[in-house]
Symmetry: C2
Amino acid sequence: MAFVNQNQILQSLIAEQLVSDPASARGRLLKEAARLFRDKGYERTTVRDLAAAVGIQSGSLFHHFRTKEEILKAVMVETIRLNTALMQAAADSEESPRGKLRALVRSELESINGQTGEAMAVLVYEWRSLSESSQVQVLELREIYEGLWLSVLEELNELGQLKADPFIVRRMLTGALSWTVTWYKPERGGLTLDGLTDQVMAMLGL
Amino acid sequence: MAFVNQNQILQSLIAEQLVSDPASARGRLLKEAARLFRDKGYERTTVRDLAAAVGIQSGSLFHHFRTKEEILKAVMVETIRLNTALMQAAADSEESPRGKLRALVRSELESINGQTGEAMAVLVYEWRSLSESSQVQVLELREIYEGLWLSVLEELNELGQLKADPFIVRRMLTGALSWTVTWYKPERGGLTLDGLTDQVMAMLGL
DNA sequence: GTCTATAGACTGATAGAC
DNA sequence: GTCTATCAGTCTATAGAC
């Protein structure tokens, strides 16, 4: 797994029909939906906005999705599936616990501030707009993702390298890393994604 | 300032008409609005919901506020004013830079998870629902608040006690502390607010 | 300062033609 | 698979009586 690149991972997920091909009609709609939901919020985004973004009429949307909420759910589900796979590969490519943690931080920062950033922001900020039954289903997927983090953090803790409780560190990191979407602008300042990762590791004394 | 308590601060802000008296009609509405906006989101909360929460009809709301957005803005403005004053008093009550930082972390955690928690969550998660002109006004108030943090963090940095850049540490803390609202439940587990503050300080190696 | 009644705009979703 | 047309419901805000 160590040298599998990001595009190979995406391709295999598409082949398994776990995420939509970004070139397909469904994939393009989900991409535009993520952008609109992040920019305006789920409630302020109308089905007319969504349809216009992919160049169709609002009535035609309901041929692809039964409800507006189904679109929100699909954005979230596919985003978690993709990022769990990317995260797993990032952790597997490192040997030491510290290296694995750095890879996870780097990978999550990339998810939040890169290609899937819009969808990741939706996952954090539009959670309440999901119906309760959908929340349960998305939460199940999310647990696999969180398990990756906890196993690495617990390993570091057993080595005495972690200064606080692993569960709490993960929750602090969840908040801290997702918040970067509101202020981190790689193009403006001199801070690269690797530089930002270094700052996070330094803050943890690692 | 060292021994001024929280209630005295609230009373003096009410006297200066910088925040509404929680017992007044306006104050009670803002309290209910904060709760509804946090629970359902600004867009999903209707003026009928707001009116019902204080026992009046929806038309009567517009005697107190010209628009629904004005209510959101008032929740945010009054929350920042109150918490800036509480934060200032907390920092002033300590001598050492480390002590001041701990007081700020403790104070912000209390704001987020205590009495003003509903309004603080609104400040973080409903930002986009504010019109651009209102965003500018609220941002100005927010800068005073952030200045308090930065002066303490820069002091610690000059003493060589901070492991990462002060600006970045503040932003990480903003995300990490505000995120506690999604998981920290003082009544359930054994972790107190002081215990949580200790974990944050330990994570920073302080 | 609160009420009732409603204007006027917008919403998600459906039906049936092509 | 997309179109047009529209339904039925909901929304913020206003007007005028009390």
